[in-house]
C-alpha cells in the first residue's frame, strides 16, 4: 500500500502541495485528476523520490520512501512518462530491456532482447520495431514502447503520467485498454495521472481529485458522477463556470 500523509511541496513561493493525504491499496488502480499545474506530476514524482517533498510522510508498505534502500525500492516500480522519455541513443529493444541489460536484473543479451520483443508484442508492436530508434517512431508508438519498458521487469507498482496526452482518440483507447489489461493481468498497483475523463473511466478503480494542493475528493470511480462535489462535477463535465477558476 502507498500512503501519503500531510505531504507538502513548494517551489519558491509557489506552494504546490499543501497537505496531501491519500491511500492507494495494493493491486488497485488509482487515477489522479486535476487541472493543469495543480501538482499531479509533482505528487507522483514525490512518491518515486524524483522530487523531495518538504514535509509529511510517504510510505510504501509501511516503509518511509525517503529512507528505503533506493535500488530495491525502485526495482518495484515501472513508469510510463508523459513524452515516453525513451533514450534517443538506444534502439527500441534496448530501451525496453534497459533494466534487463544492467544492474541487479541483468540477463544475457539474447534473453533480454527476447523479453523486449515479447513486451513489444504485448503492447501491439511488431518485432521489426525492435531495431528502430525512438526518433523513427510516431507518438503513439513511442508511448507504447514506453509502456513496454515500464512493464519489462514486471514491476509490482506502475505509474502512468498522462498516458494518452497527444494521442488520437483511437490510439488513446488502445493505450487505455492496454493499461487496464496489463494492470489486471499482472495484479500490479497502478497510479495514473490524466486529464482525460475517458481514460479515467477505462483505467480507474478509484479516483482522487487534486485541487488547491490537497485531495479535493477521493472515492471509487463508480461514485464519481454522484459525488456532489462541485469541484469534481465541474472538472468531469468540463464546465467553464464553477468553483475552479478558468484562469489560474
Amino acid at each position: 500500500m502507498i500512503r501519503l500523509e500531510g505531504v507538502h511541496k513548494a517551489f519558491g513561493s509557489n506552494r504546490v502541495l499543501r497537505g496531501v493525504d491519500l491511500e492507494i491499496a495494493k493491486g488497485t488502480s488509482m487515477v489522479i485528476i486535476g487541472g493543469s499545474g495543480t501538482g499531479k506530476s509533482v505528487l507522483l514524482k514525490s512518491v518515486l523520490g524524483l522530487v523531495r517533498h518538504d514535509s509529511g510522510t510517504i510510505t510504501l508498505d509501511g516503509q518511509d520512501v525517503t529512507t528505503a534502500e533506493r535500488d530495491a525500492f525502485l526495482a518495484r516500480f515501472g513508469m510510463l512518462f508523459q513524452g515516453g522519455a525513451l533514450f534517443d541513443s538506444l534502439p527500441v529493444w534496448q530501451n525496453v530491456a534497459f533494466r534487463l541489460l544492467r544492474g541487479s536484473l541483468k540477463r544475457p543479451k539474447a534473453e533480454a532482447r527476447e523479453i523486449a520483443i515479447e513486451k513489444l508484442r504485448r503492447v501491439g508492436l511488431k518485432p521489426d520495431v525492435a531495431d528502430l530508434y525512438p526518433a523513427e517512431l510516431s507518438g503513439g508508438m513511442q508511448k507504447r514502447v514506453g509502456l513496454a519498458r515500464a512493464i519489462a521487469a514486471e514491476p509490482e507498482i506502475i505509474f502512468f503520467d498522462e498516458p494518452t496526452t497527444g494521442l488520437d482518440p483511437i490510439m488513446s483507447g488502445v493505450i487505455n485498454a492496454l493499461i487496464r489489461e496489463i494492470v489486471t493481468e499482472m495484479g500490479a498497483t497502478a497510479m495514473t495521472i490524466t486529464h482525460d475523463m475517458t481514460s479515467v473511466r477505462a483505467i480507474a478503480d478509484n479516483v482522487a481529485m487534486l485541487h488547491g494542493g490537497v485531495i479535493q475528493w477521493a472515492g471509487p470511480v463508480a461514485q464519481m458522477d454522484a459525488s456532489g462535489d462541485p469541484h469534481l462535477d465541474q472538472f468531469i463535465h468540463g464546465r467553464a463556470e464553477g468553483p475552479i477558476e478558468a484562469v489560474r
Binding site: G49, L50, L74, G78, G83, L86, D88, F98, G103, R149
Partner: protein, 259 residues
C-alpha cells in the same frame, strides 16, 4: 540603498555568486569522482565516450594544430629576423606547440566540440524526462552519464594533445623546410634536441586537466538545465564559456606549477 554603496553591493553579490558557483562545481566534481570507487560501472558508455571525444575529434585537432604550427613558424621567422635570430624557428615552434599552443588549442577545441555537445545532449535528456527515466530504471545518472564522459575526457584528451603537438611541429617543419629554406634534417634534430621530458609531461598533464574540465562542465551545465529549448541553449552556452575560461585559468596555474 545608499547610492554610494550600491556598486559595492553589486560587487559583493557577484563575488558571492561566483564563489557559490565554484563551490557547486567543486562538489559536483567530487561527487563524480566518488563514483569511481562505487560500482556499478558502465564500460560501454565509457568506450562510446572515448570514441566520441577522442577519435572523432582528431580531424579538428589535427587541422588546428597543423595551421597553427605553420603560422607560428612564419611569425617566429619574421619576428626573429629583427634581431638575426631566424635560426631558432625549430626550437621555438617545438616549445611553443608542446608547452602552450598544443594543449590550449586542443583544450579549447574540445570545449567547443565536446563540451557543447555533452551539455546539449544531457540538457535535452533532462527536459524530455530521460534523466528521471534513468532514475526510475535504477540507474544513477551520474554513474551512467557523467563518470564515463569525464573519465574519457581525462584519459583521451592527453592523447589528442600529444597528436596535436606532433602535427603542430610538423606544420612548422613543412613551412620551415618548404617555404623558409630550412634543412629538413637540421630542423628535426634541433626540434628533438631542444625539447625536454618536462615539456612533454606538462603538455600531457595539461591535456588531462583540460579534458576533465571540458567534459565536467558539459555534464554539470547539462544536468542543471532549465526546462525548454531556451534552457538547453543557455546550458550549452554557459558550459562552453565556463569550460573555456577554466581551461585558460588552469593553463596559467599549471604553467606556474611546471616551470
Amino acid at each position: 540603498m545608499n547610492p554610494v554603496l550600491a556598486p559595492l553591493a553589486a560587487i559583493g553579490r557577484s563575488t558571492l555568486a561566483l564563489l557559490a558557483a565554484i563551490g557547486s562545481v567543486a562538489i559536483y566534481a567530487a561527487q563524480t569522482l566518488s563514483h569511481l570507487f562505487r560500482p556499478p560501472y558502465y564500460p560501454r558508455e565509457f568506450l562510446t565516450a572515448l570514441m566520441t571525444i577522442g577519435y572523432f575529434s582528431l580531424p579538428v585537432v589535427g587541422l588546428t594544430a597543423l595551421f597553427t604550427g605553420g603560422a607560428l613558424a612564419l611569425q617566429i621567422y619574421s619576428g626573429g629576423a629583427r634581431f638575426n635570430a631566424e635560426a631558432v624557428v625549430p626550437q621555438i615552434v617545438a616549445i611553443g606547440m608542446v608547452r602552450e599552443l598544443g594543449p590550449v588549442l586542443v583544450g579549447l577545441m574540445i570545449a567547443a566540440r565536446v563540451t557543447s555537445s555533452v551539455a546539449a545532449e544531457i540538457a535535452t535528456m533532462k527536459v524530455t524526462e530521460q534523466i528521471d527515466a534513468l532514475v526510475t530504471l535504477s540507474t544513477h545518472p551520474m554513474k551512467y552519464l557523467t563518470l564515463p564522459r569525464v573519465m574519457a575526457g581525462l584519459l583521451v584528451v592527453p592523447v589528442l594533445v600529444g597528436v596535436g603537438d606532433v602535427i603542430g611541429i610538423m606544420g612548422g617543419y613543412l613551412v620551415g623546410t618548404e617555404r623558409l629554406g630550412f634543412n629538413a634534417a637540421t630542423y628535426l634534430t634541433n626540434t628533438v634536441d631542444f625539447l625536454e621530458a618536462r615539456d612533454v609531461a606538462s603538455s600531457l598533464a595539461k591535456g588531462a586537466a583540460f579534458g576533465f574540465i571540458a567534459t565536467l562542465m558539459g555534464c554539470y551545465y547539462g544536468m542543471r538545465s532549465d526546462r525548454g529549448a531556451q534552457g538547453v541553449g543557455a546550458a550549452t552556452k554557459s558550459s562552453v564559456v565556463a569550460a573555456a575560461v577554466m581551461i585558460l585559468a588552469a593553463n596559467y596555474l599549471l604553467t606556474e606549477l611546471f616551470f
